[in-house]
Symmetry: C2
Subunit: 577 residues, 2 copies
């Protein structure tokens, strides 16, 4: 019997009408370890976002615009229906659940896999007899479920992080005093790794470790079952925190009484809230993510250096592709080459996400990742989209370039040029302090909209520092209303064109927000481009560019040549025209 | 004793620590009749927006960026402090009130002058013993307070409105059924005038009449004390509504029991809510404003014709100015001329707001209006900013042009050109359905931001149809997040530069939202420019314009010449270069 029907048997036993399987772990991580990939196990859909809902007579997967094409393919041979998020004809997951509850259906979900905010948004004013959050039904049916990861901690030295844990704890406690918090609880793995300047390898592409943290006036406790040595213990004493086994977290929570507890309802799961019922919970934003979003001087210097070597690796890979195009190299060869060149860079740890090397029609799938079945051989035609990044001790990178492998159509050249214009004009923007990402978005999208083309995604996202490649609130998107830019933030700039069955184009640079030197009565900000890699000259229609845009490209390439001349061969240098 | 101290005596009598005087009437109108100009009477500040707060030892006026300079001037010789809204160093009115309440201060405000939403936003979870909303203290101290207006109703014929009241009531009742409303209460004078296709002259520049309306399944009742004749009575019978004296409204509300009542908390005052306490109130958006925001075919055709003749009046005025510049004409002469030319147009009723004819430094005051003291004589130098509009049976206009009267500086030419670029590029935008005004704003602001210049206002606002010149939600501004554009909406496009003590530049066109003819997989919208009036060639630096912008100007002027050739003299035609 197939997995979904086995799940249905368990649902019957527990008298559950609807069981929900989110893409999540107990820390609401964006990328989860294999142990928590229940949605993928059940549905076969491999995207990084989506929620599966199973009923006796139907199964539905919700996912967003990035994954529409991919999900269609991966669900082709299953009973699961795809509900495209944001499209009118499909009810939202919330709507669907609210209606089901109206019809007296009983909902089951494992409380560790759902955030407080999302769950309470669903069930507000619903009688608790209509849901059960204690059931990990996936665990019952999952044959050979992967173990929870348990890797070795290492210290992210201050020469890389730029601020000691002791100082970060001091800042956090000042915040707690101001907000009248007695205890601050952290569930987000990124925030914990940031706070303690520790990293490990529990999640692929994201060097965090399974843990929780509790900070009060006197103590800072890190609950984890990661491995660590004497050296780490000594470090924890110096920095003023204690390490305890994660199995003690449960009991610790149960013993808290009558305290003001600060936590982030978006990053904390329902199970934790249950444990804290005898306390006053103060819902707080991800304060540590806010800390991390503003890079310090040391980090900024490190990021700038890192982008030189990361760019060198990408250029060497491009050169490899051009030279070997006749040798039947594949998308996966390209990913492999990128990793090979990056792994030679000092401080490289792993890719920051699964490389997207998408040839021709595959490029139209925003988050395509080649596997044995899909892996295409490159030919002297059409476009190759390469979106990749690295995790370095000195920061995280995220870069996309799209190149022509030979024959290109006028349509491809026009589309590439429009994407480039948008990318450049957003990079050149000057904007008032507190301008939101929803205001800036159209600077990148405008040129495509004028030709009736839209991309079904935001234009940019924040980037972690040796942490998740997606960070915080500083997004650029028509909906990024709370995204207010401040100096020291880092954001990507990645407009694109995606033509199903034909090709995909995306150009992505990372940008640093800084104060503008411009004379003004107001406070103005501007971007500094961190990513260093040339554009594909053969894809540009220079008639569509104005002088400012051409000037931007020339200065940008000049800067790249200057910074890379010692690391590239003449052949490779020639790619920077 | 001065007015504010007389108010303080009354406050003492009533044991009130803080008395708040908003700029409002019982209908939450933006422009209020003289009877309700208590804030102006007390403070001397004549702007159209602002709230006065009086305490035993201080008096504070809050107003927004449009009025900072004007308020500074008008408050110069008073004890009243100006709190600039939106600037960090000043607490917001809400913040101020919340703090006062924390300190056990007792707040007084007249409940008819404050909307349900705003008041409840202030006092949420505050014990009612800390405020009193029954005191019209202004009335006690106001010597010779102007009477409430009482003007004559006239019918806005269907050839102008494009939809009968009977049909509008039908649409409204369909909405009420859907929302499970038993009774819908309307307080907004604009919405009432729109619904019943009636107008009068109770408020200067805004042809509405003091009234309330109540709609249920069977009845539609218009409560008003406006004057009307047999003809109107007959009309009301034909269209299916009843007219009753406004004095009966009070009693009518008190007799409502156990009903679902739909009303707009932003447009309905606290006094009404008190009367309805035995009912369930459903807070609804301004549904009738939404109806009005989408223009029908008849209205669109009327607006287009109206803008030809309105533009003719403006061009004739400009020509008059150029010819008489040596004759010591003043700002007020310009306003007078505009009215004179407009009054010759069929269907003209009155200006749609007090004309802003602002010469030189006066132009830096966004909402300046010349009076006997300020009235400047025009000279052969500097800039003249003219912002004006008309109320016509066939629609409402709002246009701004800035012209050079002689010598101009490079700075003025650059600023004018940057404003023009922004105005043009927003006019040319194509955008996805449901794009918000906060996304579009930067298309007009971008060119100024790139030079470190910002204007402290939104870029555009909706416009009524023989109603208030400010309508609804369809604003263009970094904060206009709920402003989603739909075909048939009308919005202004008015970027500007305001340099205190030097000059002001604003260029304003009205735009109609329509579906784009562009081929696309998505639904795209675009703007059609309604306003017809040339730009000042002597203020344009053509080196700063690209071909698209020059092309826009040429086509626009060509269109104006074609449409106006029969109505202008050769001399006037020559202004359309």
């Amino acid at each position: 019997m197939d997995k979904i029907n086995r799940l249905r048997l368990e649902m019957k036993k527990e008298d559950i009408d609807i069981y929900i399987v989110p893409t999540s772990d107990p820390h609401q991580s964006e990328y989860v370890s294999d142990h928590w990939k229940g949605r993928e196990y059940l549905s076969g859909f491999t995207g990084s976002a989506g929620t599966l809902l199973v009923e006796a007579d139907k199964a539905i997967l919700w996912t967003d615009g990035r994954y529409f094409i991919q999900a269609e393919n991966e669900l082709k041979n299953s009973e699961i229906k795809l509900y495209r998020m944001g499209e009118k004809k499909y009810p939202s997951l919330k709507r669907y659940i609210r209606d089901a509850l109206k019809n007296q259906k009983k909902i089951g979900i494992y409380g560790k896999l759902i955030s407080i905010s999302e769950f309470e948004d669903w069930i507000k004013d619903i009688d608790s007899s209509y849901y059960n959050i204690d059931l990990d039904l996936i665990d019952r049916i999952w044959v050979d479920r992967p173990k929870k990861p348990r890797t070795e901690l290492f210290i992210h030295e201050e020469i890389y992080s730029g601020e000691s844990t002791r100082d970060k704890l001091k800042r956090l406690r000042e915040y707690m005093v101001e907000k009248e918090e007695h205890i601050h609880i952290v569930s987000s793995l990124d925030e914990i790794a940031y706070l303690f300047n520790l990293r490990a390898n529990d999640i692929v592409n994201n060097p965090v470790f399974i843990s929780y943290a509790v900070i009060n006036k006197k103590e800072a406790i890190l609950f984890t079952d990661a491995k660590y040595d004497e050296n780490i213990l000594k470090y924890s004493e110096e920095e003023g925190f204690i390490i305890r086994d994660i199995s003690e977290f449960d009991k610790y929570l149960e013993n808290i009484r009558l305290k003001n507890i600060g936590l982030d309802p978006n990053k904390t799961n329902m199970w934790i809230k249950e444990k804290l019922k005898f306390n006053k919970i103060l819902y707080k934003p991800e304060i540590l993510t806010e800390f991390e979003s503003i890079r310090n001087k040391v980090q900024i210097e490190n990021m700038k250096k890192t982008h030189i070597f990361d760019g060198v690796a990408v250029i060497k890979t491009l050169n490899y592709i051009y030279k070997n195009i006749e040798n039947n190299i594949t998308e996966m060869d390209v990913s492999e080459k990128l990793r090979e060149f990056r792994s030679k860079i000092e401080g490289f740890i792993e890719p920051s996400f699964d490389t997207i090397a998408a040839y021709g029609p595959n490029g139209a799938m925003m988050h395509y990742c080649a596997d044995a079945d899909s892996n295409s051989v490159l030919k002297r035609e059409n476009l190759l989209l390469i979106d990749s990044g690295g995790q370095y001790l000195s920061g995280t990178t995220d870069i996309t370039r799209t190149i022509s492998l030979g024959k290109t159509s006028d349509e491809q050249i026009r589309d590439y040029t429009l994407v480039l214009k948008g990318m450049i004009n957003l990079s050149r923007a000057k904007f008032m302090e507190k301008t939101s990402g929803s205001t800036l978005d159209i600077l990148a999208r405008n040129y495509l909209w004028n030709e009736g083309i839209d991309y079904k995604s935001g234009t940019g996202h924040g980037v972690g520092y040796l942490l998740s490649v997606h960070l915080g609130n500083q997004r650029i998107s028509p909906n990024a209303r709370n995204s207010r830019f401040k100096p020291g933030m880092v954001v990507t700039n990645e407009p694109g064109v995606y033509k199903e069955g034909k090709y995909g184009i995306r150009i992505e640079n990372m940008l640093l927000v800084r104060e503008s030197s411009m004379k003004s009565d107001d406070e103005f900000l501007e971007f500094e481009t961190l990513t260093l890699c040339p554009f594909d000259k053969t894809l540009i229609d220079f008639n569509l560019l104005n002088n400012d845009e051409i000037d931007f490209i020339e200065k940008y390439h000049m800067r790249i040549r200057e910074l890379m001349k010692d690391y590239l061969t003449d052949e490779e240098m020639a790619l920077i025209w």
